[in-house]
Structures are given as structure tokens and as C-alpha cells.
């Protein structure tokens, strides 16, 4: 068996948490059930990985099989990568009859015509997601299986999710191949990044919970009723304010869970406003400042800020517009005109 493939499989198995190795190998489907039964999954991972490689040798695994295992690993542990969102555009209005075999052919042909040394693998998932794994080489070297980019595309949508983690020089090739294969004209990167691929999908596909007003009776199972203090001697002094905040939160964030983002970044290019007598920044240059909000779950924490008493409700629209505008990177510049203010760049 190809040594590179063997080593790659071994290293991939080592990345998987021990309790999950069997499940992932089963999903891979390359080793039979009997072969899997023969492996002792309670030994140390080093030994498990060697056993797996041994069995793969028996089955003559090649780089293609190794790539499939890599895709499965990255699908299950997609939050180990940072994903960006790209948006495609086309002038026409005809309906597409998206045929996946057509898409795959065009993508491979376009990419290979620009760079011969690439390994391209596809895998389709239940939710119409097409996963593409590309291992990059150079015009003179074979593809490096450890330098991979992942692309997730849903047919007939203008959005592509990319986890590049490689040299910037390959991105234009990748973008070109995507545009050609999906019958679009142009592509640009959006200002939206996160480790949670599903949350990014929720935001651009508008699957996240938005606060729509309607008479439609929505199921209320998710509503958490805060336990009221049963002691009648305890009175909530600011009960009205709390209810107001909850109402405002509902109107802004909706009822359901928020998409998971890890940060929001605001690049300020505004003028520092101070007393002219203080003589600070008398050059009248924009005061460059970067504000970054980080959190394991940014939008949920913003939602609970007002309730926790740490911010006023309603929150600044700069924070609450994130899912609606589908961006978490902002540039705030001085508004040009009579009234100095700030505006968010498109």
C-alpha cells in the first residue's frame, strides 16, 4: 500500500478521540464489521492506529480511501476549523436543474486545468450538502495530503462555505473552479466567519430563529419558565423592568436558540472627539481602534446581557444586526456630512 496513504490514515485515526474511533471507522465503511471486531479499542491510541493501518493494508487502501476518512473526520469535527462564507452572483434568472455529476465534472476539470497536482474528493450528505476536499500540490510536487482545503456547497444556493487553511495563492483557483462548476459569474468573500459551520448555514439560509409577528400558535416547549419564588415574602422589585427586557429580547432575538458565533470584530476609523483644548490628536486623523467581542457563544451571551443587568435593553443595533446582516466583521467610519456620526460600511 502507498506509504503516504498509510501514514495519513494512521495520523487521522490518532486525531479522533478514542471513544469515537469505532463509530467513525464504521461510517467510513472501508473495513468490514469482522475486521472492526478484531481491533481492541481499549488499548492506547498508538496501537489502535497501527492495527487500523494493518487492516487497511490487507484491504489495499489507497489515497482515495484515506481522503474519504479525512472528509468524515472533518465533517464530524468541523468545529476544529474556521469557516468563511463566500457569496456568488450571476445576472441571469433561469432556473437551474442542478445535476451533481455535472457539477463534479466541471469542478475537477476547471481546477485541474489550472493546477494538475491536486487530489479532489467529493462526498454528499443527507441535507443536500456537497463536501469537497482538495489537497494541494504545486506545479512540480505531488499533492500534500496535509495541506487541504474544504468546501461545503448546497446546490442552487449562492453561498459556499470554505475552510482554507492554506496558502492564499490557491484561493483564486478554488473560487474560479466553484464559479464555473455552479454556473455563476462572480464570487466574493463575505465578512462572516465562525467555527460552527451549521450556524453559518443557519445565518445565510435564514434558518435561525427570527422574531416574526404572527397569530400562528407556535409550540412553546422550549420556553423555560423561570421558577417563581414560592416564598410570598419575597417580592420582585423590578419585575416590570425584567418583563420589559424579556419582551425586547424576544422582539430582537426571537424565541429559539441563536446561531453560534465566536467573535464579532469592529474596526473603528472614527475621529477621536475630545475637548480641543486638550490637544489630543491635533492632527485630526481617524483614531484607529479595533474592538473584538469574543465568547464561546456570542449571540446567546448578548441576549443575556440585559437580563443580567450588564447592559441596557435594547442593545445597540451594531450588535443585534449580526445575523440579519450576515456579518461579524464591521468597519465603522465617520459619516461624511453635516452631522458627524458613524456609519457601517456595506
Amino acid at each position: 500500500m502507498d506509504e503516504i496513504a498509510a501514514e495519513f490514515i494512521r495520523r487521522t485515526v490518532l486525531k479522533i478521540p478514542r471513544g469515537e474511533i469505532k463509530t467513525l471507522l464504521q461510517k467510513w465503511g472501508f473495513l468490514s464489521e469482522t475486521q472492526l471486531q478484531a481491533i481492541n479499542f481499549h488499548q492506547i491510541k498508538e496501537n489502535i492506529s497501527l492495527d487500523v493501518v494493518q487492516l487497511c493494508e490487507e484491504n489495499s487502501a489507497d489515497i482515495k480511501q484515506a481522503a474519504v476518512l479525512d472528509i468524515i473526520y472533518n465533517y464530524v469535527y468541523s468545529n476544529k476549523r474556521v469557516w468563511s462564507v463566500y457569496q456568488m452572483n450571476k445576472p441571469g434568472e433561469e432556473t437551474e436543474f442542478f445535476d451533481i455529476s455535472d457539477f463534479k465534472k466541471k469542478f475537477k476539470r476547471q481546477l485541474r486545468s489550472a493546477l494538475k497536482n491536486v487530489t479532489i474528493n467529493f462526498r454528499e450528505y443527507e441535507d443536500n450538502a456537497i463536501w469537497i476536499r482538495i489537497a494541494w500540490g504545486t506545479p512540480y510536487t505531488k499533492p500534500n495530503q496535509y495541506k487541504t482545503s474544504y468546501v461545503v456547497y448546497h446546490s442552487q444556493t449562492p453561498y459556499v462555505f470554505v475552510s482554507a487553511s492554506v496558502l492564499k495563492s490557491n484561493l483564486p483557483l478554488l473560487c474560479q473552479a466553484l464559479v464555473v462548476a455552479s454556473n455563476y459569474h462572480e464570487i466574493r468573500e463575505m465578512e462572516l466567519r465562525s467555527r460552527s459551520l451549521n450556524s453559518l448555514k443557519d445565518i445565510v439560509f435564514k434558518r435561525y430563529s427570527q422574531a416574526f409577528q404572527s397569530y400562528y400558535p407556535r409550540p412553546l416547549e422550549d420556553r423555560k419558565v423561570s421558577p417563581e419564588s414560592t416564598d410570598l415574602r419575597v417580592i420582585q422589585e423590578n419585575k416590570n423592568e425584567k418583563e420589559r427586557i424579556q419582551r425586547v429580547n424576544r422582539e430582537v432575538f426571537g424565541e429559539g436558540p441563536q446561531p453560534k458565533l465566536e467573535f464579532a470584530q469592529y474596526k473603528l476609523e472614527t475621529m477621536f472627539k475630545s475637548d480641543p483644548k486638550m490637544n489630543v490628536l491635533d492632527k485630526k486623523e481617524p483614531f484607529r481602534c479595533l474592538v473584538k467581542f469574543s465568547s464561546p457563544h456570542l449571540l446567546e451571551s448578548l441576549k443575556s446581557l440585559a437580563l443580567a443587568g450588564m447592559a441596557d435593553a435594547p442593545l445597540s443595533p451594531l450588535l443585534t444586526c449580526i445575523p440579519q446582516k450576515a456579518r461579524n466583521y464591521f468597519k465603522i467610519r465617520e459619516k461624511k456630512g453635516l452631522f458627524p456620526g458613524s456609519f457601517v460600511s456595506p
Binding site: E93, T95, F205, F212, S214
Partner: protein, 276 residues
């Protein structure tokens, strides 16, 4: 004569007696009526006393004099509110319902496929200065922008109707594919190839003829996005297949074009089952 005089006196006496009787009768009658009047007066007084008592008793409890048979104004209002709410909820089941918002109106399009209610989608519209879409939860692959460009400004009813047709047809196509995968996965070889809009479905299934099984490849193209039945059906089989299969392929092709996918499959797989 005397007899004539006697007779005359008799007659006079008789008449006087009659008159007397009449008068006595009248007096009796009068007495009786007077007694009746007394009785009724007594009854009236008793009832008056009763009513007074009741009034005094009620004042103590509710403070409102009401006929127990008539509902209170508050109860009527509550009933009116309940029935309006129920009406509004029923509107949602009709497929398109709306609620006025501060800056416009929010529409809810509820989709269904042959009696099964499926997803609901929302459209938040601003009405001033012109009709514009503020937010929505329409899937990205539905050509919302195109439909809005055509109808939103000019004919909002048509806009909602066309959008609803697109959404209902989409969920219908998706439902059929899901049903096929759920109930007939054993007859399908490989995977059911779909796309986001579900306007192209490709799959292989087995047919048996003369104790042998042959694979059929089906390609369903849904050219009309507002329709949940395919516009083009292509069934192909391997070149070595017997000629009889060509007939079967044509029959199946016709079936797929006319009937819902899972129902068509049911009649294909069920021996002798009637086409729904």
C-alpha cells in the same frame, strides 16, 4: 174584570220577582268580583314583597341587577375575543395569513401537501415609503427576488400567490422524495440523487421480468417550479434487457408523470395494486 186585574197583578209580581232576582244576581256577581280583586291585590302585594327581598339580597352579592338568563357584557366580550383569535388561527391553516406590524405587515405562508401540513415561512414587509421586504425566512433557493421584482410593487396578492405556489410545490416535491426514501428504500439501488430545489431527481430501482431483475434508471425533471409533478421523465435500462421491459418502462414513465412519486411506487411494487 177582576180576573184580568188579578192576571195583571200576577204578571207585575212576576216581573218584580224577576227583577229582584236579577239584582240579587248582579250583587252576587259584584261581591264575587270584589272578592277576586281582593285576592289579586293580596297576591300582587306578596310578589312585590318577594321582589323587594330578592333585590336587597342581590345588591349584597354582585351589585348588578341582571336577568340570570342574559350573559354579562364582560362575558360577551371575552367570547368575542376568543372567537376572533380562533378565526385568526384558522386563517393560518388556509395557507396565507398576516398580521399588521408597526412598520408594515408580516405574512405567514403555511405549506401543505395533500392534507399533510408542512413548514411555515415568514415574510416581514415594510409598507412605507414603498413595499419592501424587511426580513424573511424563505429558503435561499426559492427565486424570491425574481418574484418580488415582478409583482411586489404592483400586485401584492399575485406576489403572495406566486410565492405560495413555489413554496407549496417545493415542499410537495421534497415530501414525495422523503416518502420514497422512507418507505421504498429497499427497492432503490444506491442513493436517491436530489438537489436543494428538488427539481431534479435521479435514482435506480429494480424491476423483475421473467424471474430476472433488471435495473431501471429514472430521471425526473420538474420543469415547472410551481408544480409538484415532473414535466419530463426519462427511464432507461441496460441494453441487454428484454423488449418487454421497454413497455414497462413506458408505463412507469407515464405513471411517474401523472401520480405522486411515492404513490406511483406503491402501485409499481404492489402486485395488482390499483393506481391511486
Amino acid at each position: 174584570g177582576v180576573f184580568a186585574h188579578l192576571e195583571m197583578l200576577e204578571v207585575q209580581a212576576h216581573e218584580a220577582a224577576l227583577k229582584q232576582e236579577e239584582m240579587e244576581e248582579q250583587e252576587e256577581k259584584l261581591a264575587r268580583l270584589k272578592a277576586r280583586v281582593q285576592e289579586l291585590r293580596l297576591q300582587r302585594d306578596e310578589l312585590r314583597a318577594k321582589v323587594d327581598l330578592q333585590q336587597k339580597g342581590q345588591l349584597g352579592k354582585e351589585g348588578v341587577v341582571s336577568d340570570p338568563a342574559q350573559p354579562s357584557a364582560r362575558a360577551v366580550l371575552e367570547w368575542k375575543i376568543r372567537s376572533v383569535k380562533a378565526m385568526l388561527q384558522i386563517f393560518c391553516l388556509t395557507g396565507i395569513s398576516g398580521k399588521l406590524t408597526k412598520r408594515g405587515v408580516c405574512f405567514c405562508i403555511s405549506t401543505a401537501y395533500k392534507g399533510t401540513y408542512l413548514d411555515s415561512y415568514y415574510l416581514d414587509l415594510l409598507t412605507k415609503p414603498e413595499v419592501k421586504i424587511h426580513r424573511h425566512s424563505i429558503p435561499i433557493f426559492i427565486p424570491l427576488e425574481q418574484i418580488a421584482k415582478k409583482y411586489l410593487q404592483t400586485d401584492i396578492r399575485r406576489f403572495l400567490s406566486v410565492l405560495s405556489d413555489h413554496l407549496n410545490a417545493y415542499v410537495g416535491r421534497r415530501y414525495q422524495a422523503d416518502q420514497l426514501q422512507e418507505h421504498f428504500s429497499d427497492q432503490i439501488e444506491g442513493t436517491l440523487q436530489r438537489n436543494s430545489l428538488h427539481n431534479l431527481l435521479v435514482f435506480n430501482y429494480k424491476v423483475s421480468s421473467e424471474n430476472q431483475t433488471f435495473p431501471f434508471n429514472v430521471r425526473l425533471l420538474y420543469g415547472d417550479l410551481c408544480c409538484s409533478l415532473p414535466t419530463e421523465v426519462t427511464i432507461s435500462c441496460t441494453p441487454e434487457a428484454p423488449a418487454a421491459l421497454a413497455e414497462m418502462a413506458a408505463a412507469h414513465s407515464d405513471l411517474f408523470r401523472r401520480t405522486a412519486l411515492h404513490k406511483a411506487f406503491r402501485s409499481i411494487s404492489g402486485a395488482g395494486a390499483s393506481v391511486d
